[in-house]
């Protein structure tokens, strides 16, 4: 799919959407009203802003959301990196092994987001399509039916691949976080 529409145009649109999302996120942070902004709102706002730019005008809303999903991943990963660095700097106590596994049910910590990012990279090496699928679904909120159109496979395939990728990624993320935590433990000990 990516090859079909041309790498260049994807990159161009990606960087555009990324910049826009980052700019919006920064605005949100600066404002006093950040309480009510969700990523969906940001994507929507980016679309308002970019839908008529020459780079995006030919893009269907669906493809835009796929690109936005990638951009959103990038924005969140970078924010997570900064947050993570801040924590280390401020001497925050590291989370220990027992606290995070296996009860962790949401991805809400910067480290967890970074772990998802690198797990997704690993996944893309063994199945590029599944990595795109997860990216679109998790970061872009795309529906199964929409992913089926984007990835040019049946909805059943999307559902099956989502289920196995979801399990695989969760295993990877837990493993990664366990490794980090024990590493930190060793250093501290």
């Amino acid at each position: 799919m990516m090859a079909a529409e041309g790498r260049d145009s994807f990159d161009e649109q990606f960087s555009l959407v990324y910049e826009e999302l980052r700019r919006l996120a920064a605005n949100v942070l600066r404002s006093e009203q950040n309480g009510r902004v969700t990523p969906t709102t940001l994507v929507h706002e980016a679309w308002l802003k970019l839908a008529h730019s020459p780079e995006v005008v030919e893009t269907s809303p669906l493809h835009f959301r796929r690109i936005a999903a990638r951009a959103m991943r990038q924005v969140l990963v970078e924010a997570a990196r900064r947050r993570n660095a801040m924590r280390r700097g401020s001497g925050d106590v590291m989370v220990t092994f027992d606290e995070l596994a296996p009860g962790m049910t949401t991805l809400s910590d910067p480290k967890e987001i970074l772990a998802l990012d690198s797990a997704l990279d690993n996944l893309s090496r063994i199945s590029a399509r599944q990595a795109r699928l997860v990216e679109g679904r998790f970061f872009g909120g795309l529906e199964v039916s929409e992913l089926a159109v984007l990835l040019e496979v049946s909805e059943a395939t999307v559902a099956r691949e989502w289920r196995s990728a979801r399990a695989w990624l969760a295993v990877e993320i837990r493993r990664e976080l366990r490794g980090k935590a024990s590493e930190a433990g060793v250093q501290e000990g």
């Binding site: 902004v37 990523p39 706002e45 308002l48 269907s60 959301r65 063994i126 289920r163 695989w168």
Partner: protein, 870 residues
């Protein structure tokens, strides 16, 4: 883990999750062939899958809030807004949140919608206001009414709507159930509400079950006009083309998904999906979606297989009608879909009443065989053109929305497509077509293949070929236009005989193509043939004759045969209807007369002709039309030659705005306009600006095909002049000689432009003090210009230049013979501040000083001084 192993693990995992938990381990062991590590991997995945809350099912919102420091969403429940107290959240979307609220003073429940994050952008707030305005315009029992609107202290706008109780349409239908007739009656109510909105020029664009509530008694309520579009509304609303919300995929029409223009037919598609879903209890598959089967599903097939009890309610013929109706609403191609909700509703009524449907078989416009049915002939021709034109208009809408042209955006409406199509066949203005748009070209190509399929009906085929050829020509695809026009000519000769006026039409069309291709001999011959056919034919109309004569005049003019051209054009103008009811033909005739006058140096006459033409074009087409731009360019050229550079730049810039908006930035017409402005700038010594424009123009022109050759030459000539001004003599000589060669090839050796090229070469020699070379070139220019247009400004300038070369050689007497008559001419024909006039005085002063004729020298020096003071 590698790709292969992951595939194997995944396969086993996918099979194992289908098994009861207790059976999994044994099965995994078997499937893994006792590969211990693989068993472990699969079991690990199964364990993860078995957790109640899979990690990745959490919302990205939480992740974002965590890393972006966003606080939690505040709840507005129990909050008081004006007289309303919020009770619970009804729904939320990308922009708004809707709460159920009650009025605390007089009681009663309402829905209140607030715009989230209103502060993010003005566009957002405007959009929200649009929804309020839309609702305020609509008063229909099936559309939620708006009661109140205001703003919170923090600037969040809100409005209050009627609270509609009920279930989403499909849920309602599934719970309530009923016969197919009940289903159609329910659906009809939705159609009526949508049609009501359409009759107020509002397209909903997001019709889906959750936006259509039905209550116990089956009354429906249309909600959420959040992305509705007002037809013909404010042009800044680019949403026309793209749609603001990321709409719900299943109900979105193909044109919405592709980001093309939407219309009332977009809602019709969503209605088709709804009908299918109501009947079949599931969504229709999109063509090609099932992988194998590109043919769309029919409701009857699905229902027979999946709901046999339902199937028996209708007869076979009734099912055929219901299939037809549903499929026509679900047509991926706009032109074949029901054009309006009203048309769909009429067929629903017809079905309910047992009357025949208005819908035609959906494939009629594509089946070549059906073209041959005599009674469908006209329709068939129209259909193929609709195909062409629909693409064109879609393109238009995009382009024009950018150009902020209200009138043309209206053309996107379906009925306009029809009118537009018909005008193509009425011999209306084909130039109203756009250019160099891929989509249009692709559609044309399809039209061309269809024309090839019409062998059984040569007359119709000839019509199609001729129309398509004309459009290709307008699109600048000359090599594609030629075979079509040739074929059309041959077909018509055989079908009607050589003397038929339709054959003349073809000859003239061919002639105009040849002219564009630069094959001027052929062009003149074809035009003359066409004219003689018409003059011999009793049926030929005055209009046809006049049009042909204008065509011939234009060819003669391009060949530089100005006197002949003038005669033909004047004769043509006598055949035109009275000026008061000027047509496009009249205007074209006037413009061509203006061109001839211009080339002969009669600027006043040329200006008068052009201004008349301009008035007619403006009246016929409005301000933003290329024909208007063309005339503005002509007027600019006149002012340039009069030396009124400021006035001419104004004309040219105005023309460029129109041309660029119409044709786009990379079209030959745009390039031509850029060249004109650059010429202007170079006269004003604004060479750097000129150079930039010319380089842009040249790069556009070089993309074009052979027909552009003469234009490329003009650009080269301009670049030559700039190089000359910058004293880059070698470059200048290179440009001028390239230009001369190109002109010679395309326009023939006798063309006056060749003389201009000689004159320019001469100027390079003169500046380099190679006077013999200058004299040689100028003499050639003089000889040629005297032959084609003696006593014109151009010829006079050539004499003046020759005089200057002779002056530099010290041959004063001979110089006087050239320069003095040039001065006498200029003093009568150009404004007092003309640069060439000043040059002639300066040269004469020097000449008479050289001849020791002090009195004369003093006279011209005085004239120079006086002119300089003004």
């Amino acid at each position: 883990m590698d790709e292969m192993r992951w595939q194997a693990v995944q396969e086993i995992f996918s099979q194992a999750v289908e098994l009861p938990v207790e059976a999994r381990r044994a099965a995994v062991h078997t499937w893994c062939n006792s590969d211990g590590s693989m068993v472990a991997e699969v079991m690990e995945l199964l364990e993860e899958d078995g957790r109640g809350q899979p990690l990745l099912d959490s919302s990205v919102d939480q992740a974002a809030r965590a890393v972006l420091d966003f606080g939690p969403l505040p709840s507005l429940i129990e909050k008081q807004i004006g007289p309303y107290r919020l009770l619970r959240l009804l729904g939320e979307g990308g922009m708004g949140v809707v709460y159920l609220a009650e009025r605390t003073d007089i009681g009663g429940k309402v829905a209140i919608k607030l715009l989230r994050d209103a502060w993010l952008s003005p566009m957002r707030r405007q959009r929200f206001r649009m929804e309020q305005m839309t609702l305020a315009q609509l008063s229909h029992p099936s559309i939620a009414r708006i009661f109140d609107a205001n703003m919170l202290e923090d600037g969040t706008p809100w409005f209050v709507m009627e609270y509609a109780e009920g279930l989403p349409l499909t849920e309602h239908w599934q719970q309530k159930g009923g016969t197919i007739r009940d289903c159609l009656l329910l659906f009809r109510r939705v159609c009526a509400a949508v049609q009501y909105a359409h009759s107020h020029a509002i397209i909903h664009r997001d019709l889906k079950p959750s936006n259509i509530l039905a209550n116990e008694s089956g009354e429906v309520k249309l909600l959420d006009f959040g992305i509705a579009k007002q037809l013909g509304a404010d042009l800044n609303d680019h949403a026309t083309v793209t749609g603001l919300r990321l709409m719900t995929l299943a109900y979105a029409a193909p044109e919405q998904l592709a980001g093309r223009a939407v219309g009332v037919y977009t809602d019709v598609y969503a209605l088709g999906v709804l009908l299918f879903e109501l009947l079949a209890c599931r969504l229709p598959m999109r063509a090609g979606e099932s992988g194998v089967d590109a043919v769309p599903e029919k409701p009857s097939t699905v229902i027979r297989q999946e709901k046999p009890a339902f199937y028996t309610q209708l007869s076979k013929a009734e099912w055929a009608d219901l299939d037809l109706l549903t499929m026509k609403a679900l047509e991926p191609e706009v032109e074949r879909r029901y054009g309006t909700a009203d048309a769909l509703m009429r067929d629903v009524d017809a079905l309910l009443d047992g009357r025949p449907l208005e819908a035609r078989p959906p494939d009629w416009s594509y089946t070549a065989g059906k073209f041959l049915r005599r009674n469908r002939k006209v329709l068939a021709t129209l259909a193929a053109a609709v195909l062409v034109v629909a693409g064109t208009i879609v393109f238009y809408t995009v382009r024009v929305a950018q150009a902020r042209n209200i009138a043309l955006r209206e053309a996107a409406r379906t009925q306009r497509i029809q009118q537009f199509t018909e005008s193509l066949f009425d011999g209306g203005d084909k130039e109203a077509g756009p250019s160099l748009d891929l989509k249009a070209v692709q559609l044309l190509d399809r039209g061309r293949h269809e024309a090839e399929g019409l062998r059984g009906d040569p007359e119709l085929q000839a019509d199609m070929q001729s129309t398509l050829g004309g459009i290709y020509q307008k699109l600048g695809k000359l090599e594609l236009a030629a075979p079509l026009l040739e074929a059309s000519l041959e077909e018509r000769k055989q079908a009607f005989g050589e003397g038929d006026p339709r054959v003349a039409d073809s000859l003239v069309a061919m002639g105009s193509l040849r002219k564009e291709q630069g094959k001027l001999d052929d062009a003149e011959k074809l035009m003359r043939e066409g004219l003689s056919v018409l003059q011999r034919s009793a049926q030929a109309s005055q209009t046809a004759k006049a049009r042909t004569m204008v065509g011939l005049g234009a060819v003669l003019e391009t060949r530089g045969k100005y006197d002949e051209a003038k005669n033909v054009l004047e004769a043509a103008s006598k055949l035109q209807p009275a000026y008061t009811q000027g047509t496009a033909d009249t205007a074209e005739n006037l413009a061509e007369l203006g061109n001839v006058a211009f080339y002969k140096g009669s600027y006043d006459a040329s200006e008068a002709y052009n201004k008349k033409a301009l008035e007619i074009y403006r009246h016929l087409f409005g301000e933003e039309h290329p024909a208007v731009a063309q005339i503005l360019n002509n007027l600019g050229a006149i002012e340039t030659n009069r030396g009124n550079y400021a006035a001419s730049e104004t004309y040219y810039r105005h023309a460029l705005t129109i041309t660029e908006a119409w044709y786009g930035p990379n079209h030959p017409e745009t390039a031509a306009n850029l060249t004109a402005i650059a010429q202007q700038l170079s006269y004003e010594k604004r060479d750097t600006e000129a150079m930039v424009l010319l380089e842009r123009a040249l790069s556009i022109q070089k993309q074009g095909d052979s027909g552009m050759s003469a234009t490329v030459a003009s650009t080269q000539n301009q670049l030559g002049l700039l190089a000359f001004n910058a004293k880059q003599y070698d470059a200048a000589r290179g440009y001028f000689s390239d230009a001369m060669e190109r002109w010679r090839k395309t326009l023939g050796d006798q063309h006056p432009f060749i003389a201009i090229a000689y004159s320019n070469m001469g100027s390079v020699c003169l500046d380099q003090k190679d006077y013999a070379c200058a004299e040689k070139n100028y003499r050639e220019a003089v000889r040629r210009l005297d032959a084609s247009s003696k006593d014109s400004v151009n010829a006079t300038i050539a004499h003046l230049k020759l005089g200057r070369a002779l002056l530099r050689e010290g041959r004063f007497k001979e110089a006087e013979g050239e320069t003095r008559p040039a001065y006498e001419y200029l003093v009568k024909h150009v404004p007092a501040d003309n640069g060439f006039l000043a040059a002639s005085r300066k040269d004469l002063t020097a000449i008479y000083e050289g001849m020791h004729s002090r009195e004369n020298a003093a006279r011209f020096q005085l004239e120079l001084d006086v002119a300089a003071k003004h």
